[in-house]
Symmetry: D2
């Protein structure tokens, strides 16, 4: 049914997932091309950096006998003794994920996931733990592996194991460990998953490859990453997708938040943490005026920078004009600007020719897409000297002494050099939970063997669950008004094409 070999080849060709398999690579090099899928990873990294006990013994978890305090041993983690510490981390995360907590509360009567057997493969962090325990509260049974060999918070895994979850993950897995953990999740005597929650598509791939028959019982796949969604669309196109799949990555709420609002904050944070630059009076050029560019421009303008914009699309260009930014070509301002930021989704936007003409001290960074926007490779030439002055900060020095300050080697600034608020992770996790509920409870025939976006109404529900955080009070339509507008009082309020 599935061409195993081909698939394998295709998957491993994707450079963005290679990093995971090699312990020797630095953390930043393993960043993938998916902004969203890396959020949890990053968060994990930051927390674990502070908390992980570096003196852990070196025995592989696979070789240890493991049992939690109730005698349950159906898990494989680093160290069950860290469970208390992990529990506190989870509790802190709970405070900032009000929507999941609300879901738990609303589901106390009914159990919309009763009977659901969810196998998951995501970053294993405190935020994921809040999601898993929510799924459990909604009635689901869960088995879980990590989607990244680095990103597991060992103490959180311990707390989950202690709480009775079958978790197979630790920080620093080998590639062999990675697949072993996934296999332990699905290959269980007397238990067969009926839902998949995936981040990157590896779990889905493994089941396709090893246990294709399992799909007969599976009601659906929920996928969060750009990479995983891309794989699903390929399967669908090829006619090989055999269950419905929900594309969580492109839901409105998530896109709006990740792109506009988060970038508005993280551009400032990323620049400050790396360079301590003062924004006031600085001349900045932002390449691209999509949602990411809009967020960057708004923040820098607000901090007193003078911002120029480049665009290829006349409509976005006109928006930039109306928003008060001079629309230029890069070569018109490249000599004078203090900071260059790329947000185009394109490649080779900042090429060597421009880098040669920048003034001394110019900061260059990428907020857009992957690491293609700045032609970093063109800077690896003998006449230029690289100096690593801080983590994620390189000075590239020209023969005449001119220095360019290159951040994160052209990878995504906000993933590499700033943090992501739990509030954003909360939106994603809530969307994942709702997608599972929707797919699990959908009547026969609502979803076919295709990739779906979350219905607009669910998007609106996710949004509504996050309003209490802001003490925000939604107005309700009267019957008369709803009729006048031709809307259901409970939504959806937006057309499906809205984003």
């Amino acid at each position: 049914m599935i061409q195993f070999a081909d698939q394998k080849q295709e998957f491993t060709k994707r450079p963005s997932k290679i990093g995971r398999r090699s312990l020797s690579r630095s953390i930043s090099q393993s960043s993938t091309d998916s902004y969203s899928s890396v959020l949890l990873f990053l968060c994990a990294f930051l927390f674990s950096a502070s908390y992980t006990d570096s003196s852990d013994d070196e025995t592989s978890p696979r070789d240890k006998q493991q049992k939690n305090s109730k005698g349950n041993g159906d898990f494989c983690i680093k160290n069950i003794k860290q469970a208390d510490f992990g529990r506190r981390e989870i509790e802190i995360a709970e405070q900032e994920m009000p929507a999941l907590m609300a879901l738990r509360k609303r589901a106390q009567g009914e159990k919309p996931l009763a009977g659901a057997k969810v196998v998951g493969c995501t970053h294993i962090t405190a935020q994921t733990a809040v999601l898993m325990e929510t799924l459990s509260a909604l009635g689901a049974q869960c088995r879980w592996a990590a989607c990244n060999i680095y990103s597991t918070q060992n103490e959180v895994a311990a707390a989950l194991a202690e709480g009775g979850f079958s978790v197979f993950a630790w920080k620093g897995e080998s590639e062999d460990d990675f697949w072993w953990c996934i296999d332990r999740c699905v290959n269980v005597e007397g238990w067969q998953p009926n839902m998949i929650l995936d981040d990157g598509g590896d779990l889905t791939h493994w089941i396709y490859k090893k246990y294709p028959n399992m799909f007969k019982k599976i009601k659906g796949i929920v996928e969060e990453s750009v990479t995983g969604v891309h794989r699903l669309y390929q399967l669908s196109k090829a006619g090989k997708l055999c269950v419905p799949a929900m594309n969580v990555n492109d839901s409105v709420t998530k896109q709006k938040f990740d792109n506009l609002y988060c970038c508005r904050e993280s551009i400032l944070d990323g620049l400050k943490r790396t360079t301590d630059v003062m924004f006031g009076g600085k001349q900045v050029v932002v390449c691209g005026y999509g949602e990411v560019g809009k967020g960057c421009c708004a923040a820098l303008k607000a901090m007193g920078s003078i911002v120029y914009v480049t665009e290829i699309d006349p409509i976005c260009a006109l928006q930039a004009c109306m928003d008060g930014f001079r629309l230029v070509k890069l070569n018109e301002v490249i000599r004078q600007v203090d900071i260059v930021i790329t947000c185009t989704g394109n490649k080779n936007v900042v090429v060597r020719e421009y880098l040669d003409r920048m003034k001394n001290g110019c900061i260059v960074c990428n907020m857009g897409h992957s690491n293609t926007e700045i032609d970093v490779a063109s800077l690896r030439t003998p006449e230029l000297t690289w100096e690593r002055v801080r983590s994620q900060v390189d000075h590239v020095i020209w023969p005449d002494g001119k220095r360019i300050v290159l951040l994160a080697e052209g990878r995504l600034l906000n993933l590499s050099c700033s943090t992501v608020p739990t509030f954003v992770l909360s939106i994603t996790a809530t969307t994942q939970a709702l997608a599972l509920i929707e797919l699990y409870n959908a009547p026969e025939g609502r979803y076919k063997q295709d990739v779906y976006l979350l219905p607009k109404k669910m998007d609106e529900y996710v949004a509504s669950l996050h309003l209490p955080t802001f003490d925000a009070h939604l107005t309700e339509l009267s019957d008369e008004q709803a009729k006048y507008l031709g809307l259901n009082k409970n939504g959806p309020f937006k057309p499906n094409y809205y984003r």
Copy 2:
């Protein structure tokens, strides 16, 4: 083919178009529910208010012998002697409509409308004249009537007649005059239109009713107003639309400008001109956080007002939160706010109960839709006194002396009390011209008997024609980049669903 009687009934039931037929109604009462279609009207009104010679003789134009300086008499206007004055008005407008002027220039070689016979029915203003003369430069022959009995700038009509255009329109037509003028445009010996440019649908209606056979030669209809577009969709639904029609009203560029950016400016202008209120420190509640609400909120926040937002849609609500506005229910703040602005597109948003609870001096106005948002009728009760303190400004006085300042009797503030920049009119006019070109030149089969939106690429072209106004320089994709993005170098750059 067309049910004449039914149609007539349906059309005349629309209250928004009635005003046009009754000279005794005040100008503001004749405002229709279409923001866009009234722009030209308003502009006309403002200009003509200043310039029109009030001592014109009272003979009906229909009873006069009229000839221009070249002896041509195929027109009917007020006074050909005003042609010079009208020419200056047109020249001033040309300066602010660079996109049309650019179209003329680009079309010097080719004549994309060669052979086109356009019959038009729009507001007849300097801006329309620039459009008509552009169509002519592109190769078209034009005959034109007014879509509103008040909005004709007589001096502009004179200049057009002097220039050889067959114009049938004057300020202050009777209803009989109105239809007579339209008929004179289409019922011509030896000339039959092949394109329709309509604003409100009356011209289209007339041809359907009187000369249905004419549609055999007509290649398409371009319609600009909400009302007219609504009629076209009804015809299409009923299977009675017999040519392709282009919905100009809903093109991206127009919507984005009219709603977000224009409202950002006109909310301030409308409030100042009517009330001279100081914005700094004022508490304002804006009902609705769509594009119009976003524009109003941004402007008032920037001027130092404290802005609250009400919303029914959780996604817009979350945007309001992230943009820094407290999301409330109207009853939570109604006692404390200084200004109430409706932008919902809904009805009865501000009802008597709220009006009763407002504080003394509270200003109430509508930026949204028609005149339904504020329940003005509920204020027409015996215990309340109305005082007209300025044009468009009423004090409604409660028995205890409390005064509410009601603007434009709840009709659209920016149409009634502020002006519309020519720049916005330019976008609309350019879109109309391009729509005519597209429909006229489209290969057989591209458009069926349906209502279409302008292709995204044309939207982008309209935008690009307006960039020189801002001295804005668009970047061009390299071949390599275009390939990488999977886009054509010349666009379209946005998916069709984008708005």
Copy 3:
């Protein structure tokens, strides 16, 4: 004691006050160089423009027998029958002058102006009436003349006369009337003023000239205008000032509001009302980055304009940079900008050379000082054509057809083309009242024969009286905190040099 002749000469040399004496001059030409002193004037003009009955008979008020309904005839106004209408105007103004109303309330027990005999010479408007009736409520007797031959609201004067005030003023006085009215205020049998409230210095000048002995009983002068203050400082310098004088014009509260906050709003209002220009995307150069310039820049930036600043002072220049404006020399941007705004307080900032280089359609206006900033005279040359296109709007046309849009012939834009919120007038009027109270009640010796600024504490009191308008709640220092800061709990909180 006073050198009558010299003084006279000196005074009449001031060109800014000449306009008042010539009925044939247009209202705008009589604008003086004092922003503040003209506020009331303007307001009067606007209101009277709408309300004044143009069919008033032509008999001079001086020739009429006048009596109010109680038989009192000690006044001279246009038409006592307009008293009811004027009363309503006053009542509306009361609503927006909460500080004066609060003063009345607080003074119900004590009468801090008991025994005060105030002679006043100001614009006579609804706002002034609220001030006069407040002074009366505080215990003062008042006699009043107008400081401008145009600015009297006849209906307000009628209401004041009906209410028992001795008012001598009407719209359209001759110069002879002007001085006659002033004389009637001071030259009274059995009544001698002990306080002067002046706006422009003419009343003070008249008493110096005609009744110098009157100063023996006068406790002080309160002066509001730049012109009047300038005269007082000259008297003081010359050793001729024989009573204490309070400079209300330079009080902190007033300056801060007039300059920064009002200009932030009035620049937008003035430009819109005259030109309907769209701000979004426009390139603007603001000359001068003092408080006025800061207000203009902030507003235009917020509306989406791209703003450049010119400055001579490095500190303001650095502020402009940090606030996100490019600091340029005028000649660097003069070819590309759409709008030029002067706010320097200087002369010949925009000279013919720059005007020659502006692009077609460029708008030029002055927000700064008098009419010296733009060299308008240089445009009165034969090769340039002037076209008055609207009130206060001229097109100046170059031989090649280029048009410059000159607003208010270079006079202050916000005085000529926009309104001033009553809230600002309220601050001035409250300050005047407090200054009178302070001078009247000051113990012997606190004030010498000099010009004083209002004590900081009074400034703070004026501010505090305006906070309730915003429902603003001030925090009070605890005893411990006051001691820690070395401040009195009730202020003053700022050093005297603060502004």
Copy 4:
């Protein structure tokens, strides 16, 4: 001449300077009450944290034989071998201190400090090195000690020693070392200082105490810190100041930058680095609306927070209103806000009562003054649990589980948790250099034995030297304009009381 014992006692009572003397205290506890004086310290700390070699040997520098490559041994530092590394640090700093570099260039011809013998006691960082080498280029001889036992960048000290400067300083001095170093600077055979550059007043104090006769040759003191300035004013008041002193701390340029513009950026940076909080939609109360509060409010509003303000001063309160912030008392909003920021300069603004009422997760921090604003001591009670969750971040936990997030234990957030741009340090260093030049060259009698502010003209000069950083072009007055304004073409442009 000086009461040695008393002075000593008084000085050591100042708790803010104690930290320096005790190696066992954490770095953050040694923060002093002077924002400015700690800037260099902080910077030093940050840089040295990354670069300092922790494997340095433990021999005290005082016990080592030290010589630079030229055989000069008149210095005492940690390790001369680090000189190359230090030189690079200095070169990087030079790039961001354009004003000092400009001073060097302008002084190539004249040597305004020729003959000056400057003894200095400041933080020894790359920025200070740029200052010292500038003084040297201007003709001065320098001897230097550290004003803080922690803040010395050893590699910079090495580079200075290698360059021929007599530097006596290393990171981690004991208190005895501290005074020994100072003494080595002043107690030199055949060299006597004639200028003092001090930061904190310890050097000045030492000379007063030990070598009072030295003041006979000293032309002046330049002092930078709040603490040191306070001591100087005390001496002056007591009639014991025997040379002129320049208060650099209160110069306009420095105040404006440190307070408004830097805080605008550092409030965001400090909050993000410690808590990763998302600003959008958060409710924040800012206590105090002086320059610091204005900066904080502007930044948070721009990032989409809803900001409330508390104030005691009606004028600042009215400004807050006009700027669009609701003015409240703390108790009105304390239950609902997400973040509390103090900027009052006062004490006990946030007391236990308020802390008790904050909601779970509320962040509390201080941007104002010292560590007095938040009553942190009141949180040290048995029922509350403190958890250190990150560096500078404590969770204080109430018995019911509520957590307050307390930053930097109530000390200054931006000093503890964010960085200071070199640009700001540049302004301070330039001002110090100019103050030395002014005092050294002032004609006899211009300055008496008092504390002076830098003349306004020098402030303006400092500002002008920083304009090229922004590519900012200042306009110059014409002779005619200067005359009109009554100003010198080269300034000063502001009255002396301006700030």
